[in-house]
Amino acid sequence: MDYDYDNVEILFVEDSIDDAALTIRALNKSGSTNKLYHVKDGAAALDFIYCRGDFENRKPKEFPKLILLDLKMPKISGIQVLEKLKSDPETKSIPIVMLTSSNEGPDIEKCFSLGVNSYIVKPVDSDNFFKAIKEIGLYWMVTSQSPN
């Protein structure tokens, strides 16, 4: 949390320290130089976006280029964060990629109905995991064009 939270390009919301460490390593290894900020639950993610609580000094309306969002988290779940951000005209154009262990149908359907941009089931196999994270970074940070 001693990160500098201005000019963040990727907001990474993940409660699992292991998954966070592996994901950050994968992004670093893939050569991503984008500034990443990691929060550990949905409440912190919303505080970050809306510059509240710990983030009240953050520059308002400076949104990240991508949010990597875990589905199952304490306090406010990934689905609740997704629902909030996608229903707010200010934030709904921020690309959100769900990163989750769940390959259960209803979750996937729910996320797409709420307007998620992509839904990735984290592979158990580390090779595939690194590959998936690398592809996400590349696609959303380089390939995909945002509205502005």
């Binding site: 699992s16 292991d18 390593r25 262990s101 769940s102 984290k122 158990v124 196999d125 580390s126």
Partner: protein, 416 residues
């Protein structure tokens, strides 16, 4: 006059008195004669009085007759008037008579018509009499049948009440059964919910630590690989392989349990197109030894396309896998019709299996080959069986060790 005669007589008498004695006889005679005369006079006076009375009577009668004549004149006039009236009336009666004659004629005509109609009615009456007779007979028959039916109705009534008792019992049992079904359904739903949350936990909570083990082992191998000898690297590799394998097992188990909860969406399936797609996808993924395919024109079927695709994927990938150690083998995909069912089959010339272990073939995580020979978790055929069962179809197999296997499944070609 008579009085003067009398006086003369009296003087004669007095002159004769002197001669009294002599004359006394004469006098007595005279007195008698006188008295006679007196009597006659009286009689005549009486007669005159009677005549006067008679005269008065006649006058009265005359008056009466005059009155009567006047009355007769009046009566006469009245009669003349009545006569005239009668003449009028007679003329009217003549007219009325003519009218009556005409009416009479009409009535005669009508009467003759009525006679004809009467005859007709009489005939009809007779017919009706006959019909009535017939009806009478029929009526008796009906009455008999009615009695029979009444008897039958009574019997039915008795049977009915028996049935009602039975029905009540059945209803009661049904209600109890329904209650039980409701209870069981609630239990099943609860269990299902539990199972769902269990698979969710398995999916999420078990996968995460395995991913961490796999990921960290990889980091050790990558960042600290130079600190291990060959055996150490091999062990790290085993940790990664096993964690990966465990992940696959969890994924397969979840896929299998998810299948049980999935409802089947029936639609027409173009099997030729579906098999071609599956073949392409498998050959694109696969590497190395690719067998020949002999695919016949397969008939369409009714089923859930995504599920039936999974069946083809599992069966064809098995056929490829178990023939991968042999050169120039052929996979035959064909079908036939039996009892309104389409039977599809995939025949390979691969390793085959021993039919004595057939009962384990479709079991979850059951394998008839070692991991070293052929990789796999043993979920594929269990999934195939579950999908086909969900379609009310059957799956079975024939095999000869080292010669090859043939897997069959049947599907309805019309809607269930």
């Amino acid at each position: 006059m008579k009085k003067e005669d009398s006086a003369k007589l009296i003087i004669a008498n007095k002159e004769g008195a002197s001669q009294f004695n002599e004359n006394e006889t004469l006098a007595a005679e005279l007195v008698i004669a006188n008295k006679e005369l007196d009597f006659r006079n009286e009689e005549k006076e009486n007669r005159a009085a009677e005549l006067i009375i008679a005269n008065k009577e006649l006058i009265f009668q005359n008056e009466e007759k005059e009155n009567r004549a006047a009355e007769l004149i009046i009566a006469n006039k009245e009669l003349a008037f009545q006569n005239e009236e009668r003449a009028h009336r007679a003329a009217e009666l003549i007219i009325a008579n003519k009218e009556l004659i005409f009416q009479n004629e009409e009535k005669e005509k009508r009467a003759s018509e009525l006679i004809i109609a009467n005859k007709e009615l009489a005939f009809q009456n007779e017919e009706k009499g006959k019909r009535a007779e017939e009806l009478n007979i029929a009526n008796k028959e009906l009455a008999f049948q009615n009695r029979e039916k009444e008897k039958r109705a009574n019997e039915l009534l008795i049977a009915n009440s028996a049935l009602k008792v039975a029905q009540d019992n059945i209803r009661k049992l049904n209600d109890e059964l329904e209650q039980k079904v409701i209870e069981r359904t609630a239990q099943l739903e609860a269990v299902n919910k539990e199972l769902e949350s269990f698979s969710y936990s398995v999916s999420h909570d078990l996968r995460a630590p395995i991913r961490a083990i796999n990921g960290y082992t990889k980091i050790i191998a990558e960042d600290y690989g130079d600190k291990f000898d060959a055996d150490g690297i091999k062990i790290l590799q085993s940790v990664m392989n096993n964690s990966k394998k465990m992940g696959e097992l969890i994924d397969d188990l979840l896929a299998f349990s998810k299948l049980g909860r999935k409802s089947v969406a029936f639609a027409d399936i173009d099997m030729v197109e579906l098999v071609a797609t599956v073949r392409e996808e498998l050959l694109f993924e696969g590497d190395g030894n690719i067998p020949d395919f002999k695919i016949a024109a397969l008939p369409a079927a009714k089923g859930d396309k995504s599920l039936i695709k999974q069946v083809w994927v599992n069966l064809i990938s098995n056929a490829i896998k178990y023939a991968s150690h042999k050169k120039n083998t052929t996979i035959t995909i064909d079908s036939y019709t039996k009892d309104k069912l389409n039977v599809y089959y995939v025949k390979d010339e691969g390793a085959g299996f021993d039919m004595q272990y057939y009962d384990k073939l479709f079991g979850v995580f059951q394998r008839l080959h070692s991991q070293e020979e052929f990789e796999g978790t043993g979920i594929g055929l269990a999934i195939v069986q579950k999908i086909i069962n969900k379609h009310n179809g059957t799956v079975w197999a024939e095999s000869t060790l080292n010669i090859g296997s043939c897997f069959y499944f049947s599907l309805n070609h019309t809607t269930n």
